[in-house]
Symmetry: C2
Subunit: 197 residues, 2 copies
């Protein structure tokens, strides 16, 4: 017999990705035992984020400001736009510290099966941004999946009249990867895109 | 470049058991994308629980009321007290629906190494409860670890003058377990405690 408030907390925690019913109970117990040091700060951080999260009007990123922190940053190179499917992809690229341009979050990929057309994604705003004179290159950093590649081809066609260079991420052997464990498609792509040493 | 509020949310989520840095990011992204349906209810449930959680003055359980929901329940058998180490153990026993008595949460086990003595655990209150005339049996449902068993022996000695029956959980083959995979200690215990069919 667990009190209804605790039970509700467990139910809600179990909705997080990576937490099942058992680990949600463990997390709830952890929170309950450390209510001053963990539970209250987390509740406050969550409420603060929930109240302030908004979609960046420029790039579609989710952040606590609009324009988002990337678009606001005066040090970013506005001539290069990196197009990603989801905010998680933007976070992944930011972690590399390898990209100093700005982003554009599509919000998904085209899918005839699921009825996702160009107007359901942030494509009109991308075309508008790519037409601005300061933009020189659009990098299509979409997933190497059927949906991602279909969308990349569609965008490549639509971006042609904008007069920008359009590129995509390289395919190849993952750094640290072993050839023996790679799928044929990746290996073929790596072979075709071989570079002179 | 992730905003400071989101970064703080990720840091705090990563403190939950079962969530590392990567899954904390996934959880944060999940929350941010579903701020009305998941993030706000979870923040509210957490704040409500944090504000109302208290330690049951009778049994040491953590709940939103004191006495806790178990101690308040008129349908529980007050003649049997089940002693557990932690609140998580109480939750595990409650899930079985096999125990209809009341509990006593020690808050840990005796440990000379870590300087945990009898007065650091809820032992004085247990002895006081066990001395009440309505209490007939104390079940020591402690972990089958060195600490748990040391504490069980100590409690058994201290409970002797209280005039209550003292029992412990049975050792044996886990239901669904295979003999081949069992450790020698469990198998020996199961053999010694064999029951007539």
């Amino acid at each position: 017999m667990i009190g209804p408030e605790i039970d509700r907390l467990i139910q809600l925690l179990a909705k997080l990705p990576g937490l099942g019913p058992r680990s949600a109970r463990r997390a709830a117990l952890h929170l309950i035992k450390r209510r001053d040091t963990v539970m209250e700060p987390l509740a406050a951080a969550m409420a603060a984020a929930a109240a302030s999260i908004r979609t960046c009007a420029t790039c579609g990123n989710l952040d606590t400001t609009s324009p988002c922190h990337v678009c606001l940053d005066g040090g970013r190179d506005r001539s290069t736009i990196c197009v990603v499917e989801e905010v998680g992809d933007l976070w992944a690229l930011e972690r590399t510290h390898a990209f100093k341009g700005v982003y554009h979050v599509l919000g998904g990929t085209l899918s005839a099966l699921e009825g996702v057309g160009p107007d359901d994604l942030n494509i009109p705003t991308l075309l508008e941004r790519a037409s601005r004179p300061e933009v020189k290159e659009v990098i299509l950093a979409l997933n190497a999946t059927v949906g991602g590649q279909t969308t990349a081809h569609y965008l490549s066609d639509r971006l042609a009249p904008c007069g920008v260079a359009v590129s995509r991420l390289a395919h190849g052997v993952p750094v640290g990867g072993e050839l023996d464990y790679l799928d044929d498609g990746t290996l073929t792509a790596a072979l075709r895109a071989r570079r002179a040493l």
